[in-house]
């Protein structure tokens, strides 16, 4: 197999991981980590220019996953940069050891490998394996700090994740069994392109059961209520760059899996329509998360719940279906990845400055650290759906299109959005304004990734580049 970008995007992390384990000194490994991520991103980005390889039994590239892959590698890069400037301080405060840092960087690459593999795989079995790989690696990173809370979080994540894994596997097996009579035994019946090609022939009842299991299994990773329990703690107790990656990427990967199978369902007329299920789960997650936002005392948990909320919105949008809603869903997903990871970058610096994650101890950031504070304000307002971020555009599309189709659902959606908006605004007002309190250590984390993300958010919100629109529209058509 020649060294095409796909292979590169997968090989680089695989090669980098052992290197990182061996590299002495965390600085070197940190920047090596950055370099590897940069290389991966370059490889992924080159997928735009070169013509796409034909789908094989294991890997393939189409309009849908290329968006995910590029986004994934990009945020992976920025997160790596942030982590490189951030993690050193953790060493000074003694929260981590050099050894665990090596391990951390290696795991970072393995996680990137898992996610890229999951996104590129043309094979539902391979996708399953890859998602699990990514999950397990993140589990280990969540537990990095070895505090009781961290272990608690990691353990919770691990157990719920494992059950999710099992259920997803059963769904995968069912899909295989439904395909096996048509596509024959063995690998062919697991190849995505074959499946979608002959979706109409598959046994609808089998598909239904399979979809339920896949939805629950992968939905656990997406963090949909009521399968969300691992998410807030995992975000709150792990290292902040990992929280950024979790919210920005892992959720997307799981969502991608759900979308794939949704397409399969949609392609089979006799099967149960996946829409209502997704709409229900989406609204449930939205309302639930919005309600939970009010009582948060920990800034990272706050935004973890906001991730659940936005996953709810996205799943709702895809559940509604139709070109506009799907477009909105994709856009919202991209925007959420960029914005939420930006927010976690900001929070990383904030927690280092204030030496705490308690919301009550963080005050007047725009006063004490204007560059950081205002960035946080912009990012939070963007995630809350304020223009000129793309989130506003996607929410505009979702609400306007769904209201004329099914008013009740739209009203529930709007209610949830307002609830969440109020909560975020309440917290933001406290955090960003007023007279600063608490300790004020120097800031290590770099602001470059943060502002870069914000620039992208605003740019896309005001003027989406043509090619991007083209993909989104074709993908929206694919999703049906």
């Amino acid at each position: 197999m020649t060294l095409d970008p796909l292979a590169l995007a997968l090989l680089v992390p695989v090669v980098a991981a052992p290197l990182l384990v061996l590299t002495p000194g965390y600085r070197a490994s940190a920047w090596l980590n950055v370099a590897a991520s940069a290389l991966t991103f370059a490889a992924a980005a080159s997928l735009f220019v070169i013509e796409r390889p034909l789908p094989g039994d294991y890997l393939h590239i189409d309009d849908l996953n290329i968006v995910f892959i590029v986004l994934n590698t990009f945020v992976g890069l920025t997160a790596a940069v942030f982590s490189a400037t951030y993690i050193g301080h953790e060493l000074e405060t003694g929260r981590v050891t050099t050894a665990s840092l090596r391990f951390y960087h290696a795991m970072y690459q393995i996680m990137m490998f898992g996610m890229n593999l999951a996104l590129m795989s043309n094979n539902i079995g391979l996708m399953w394996v890859a998602v699990e790989l990514a999950t397990l690696s993140t589990v280990l990173m969540v537990g990095l700090y070895r505090t009781n809370e961290a272990l608690e979080a990691a353990w919770k994540y691990f157990i719920l994740g494992s059950v999710g894994i099992a259920l997803a596997l059963f769904g995968t097996i069912l899909i295989y069994m439904s395909a096996q009579p048509i596509l024959g035994e063995g690998l062919p019946s697991m190849v995505w392109t074959n499946l979608i090609g002959s979706a109409a022939l598959l046994d609808p009842h089998m598909l239904n059961v399979a979809f339920v299991f896949l939805l629950v299994g992968y939905g656990t990773k997406v963090g949909l209520a009521p399968f969300h329990a691992w998410l807030p703690d995992a975000h709150a107790e792990g290292p902040t760059p990992i929280s950024a990656v979790l919210s920005g990427l892992l959720l997307n990967v799981a969502l991608y899996a759900v979308l794939r199978f949704k397409m399969l369902m949609a392609a089979n007329a006799a099967a149960v329509a996946p829409g209502p299920l997704m709409i229900g789960l989406g609204l449930l997650s939205l309302i639930f998360a919005a309600a939970m936002l009010y009582r948060r005392r920990d800034i990272k948990r706050l935004f973890a719940y906001s991730s659940i909320e936005h996953m709810g919105i996205i799943v709702f949008a895809f559940g509604m279906g139709g070109p506009l809603a799907n477009f909105a869903g994709l856009l919202h997903m991209v925007m959420h990845s960029l914005t939420k990871s930006a927010i976690f970058f900001a929070i990383g610096s904030v927690t280092q400055i204030k030496g705490t994650q308690r919301l009550a101890d963080i005050r007047g950031l725009t006063h004490s650290h204007p560059a950081l504070g205002w960035a946080l304000v912009i990012a939070v307002l963007s995630i809350a759906g304020m223009p000129p971020s793309g989130v506003f555009m996607s929410e505009f599309l979702v609400v306007t299109t769904s209201f004329s189709r099914s008013p009740i659902l739209a009203l529930i959606l709007v209610f949830g959005l307002l609830l969440a908006f109020g909560a975020l605004l309440l917290r933001l007002t406290g955090v960003a304004f007023g007279t600063p309190t608490g300790e004020d250590q120097e800031m290590h984390g770099s602001l470059v990734p943060l502002w870069l993300h914000i620039a992208l958010i605003v740019l896309i919100g005001l003027h989406m580049p043509g090619p991007m629109v083209a993909w989104f529209q074709s993908v929206a058509a694919l999703l049906g």
Partner: protein, 222 residues
């Protein structure tokens, strides 16, 4: 293929479900572990049988894994643990055995109902019933996880869940990755067991005094 082989496979699969019920029925940990070992053994046999009747040699591998790892090592390890934690006498069920049994019945009924709705195809008779059995094993496994307090019994529950998965995977004709999957799951289980060992997890699963947990929750409850 003659019918006998079907019937044997069928019988083995059914007996897995039976053993799951036995596990639910067992309140004491030692008995539970023994039951689980039995289930693992049955699974190994079932997989081996599938390997034989379909002459799919790679399945022998996963049969072996099931036998060695799950029927022997893990039960033994858990046995040790129970002794170490000194919990072999505790009654660990959250809800009484009878309601749990009834719930189990319901689950089996549900899974059979679901699987019988599948459209009849040529050779899917066995597949359908196999699926029904493995689905019920899976559901019973989760049921066990949620109705037992103790970490060990929950590990056992998880593993019986996974038994059901392996059963389904082997039942699916010519499914790739079965061996890899069983390996992956063995690793998973190993990690769980180690985890239970390392941080004496039982409180983290569940405990009588909730205070002990909440001091590990990031946010104290107001």
């Amino acid at each position: 293929m003659h019918d006998l082989s079907f019937d044997i496979a069928h019988m083995l699969a059914g007996s897995l479900v039976l053993v799951s019920f036995m596990m639910i029925y067992q309140a004491r940990l030692y008995a539970l572990l023994n039951a689980f070992a039995m289930q693992a053994f049955l699974l190994a046999t079932a997989v081996a049988w599938q390997a034989y009747i379909r002459d799919a040699p790679h399945l022998y591998a996963s049969a072996a894994i099931a036998l060695v790892f799950k029927a022997i090592i893990v039960p033994w390890a858990l046995h040790r643990m129970v002794q170490r934690l000194g919990i072999h006498r505790e009654i660990e069920t959250v809800v009484g055995v009878v309601p749990t049994m009834l719930a189990g019945m319901g689950l089996v009924a549900l899974s059979i109902l679901l699987m019988l709705q599948l459209t009849e195809t040529a050779d899917s008779a066995l597949a359908r019933e196999d699926l029904a059995f493995s689905l019920s094993v899976i559901l019973l496994g989760i049921l066990m996880m949620v109705t037992r307090r103790n970490a060990v019994s929950q590990v056992v529950g998880f593993m019986s869940l996974e038994n059901g998965l392996i059963l389904a995977a082997t039942g699916a004709q010519g499914m790739p990755f079965v061996v890899e999957i069983s390996v992956a799951f063995s690793v998973l289980v190993a990690m769980i067991v180690i985890g239970v060992f390392l941080f004496r997890i039982r409180e983290r699963f569940d405990s009588v005094d909730t205070e002990a947990i909440e001091q590990f929750r990031g946010e104290k409850q107001a």
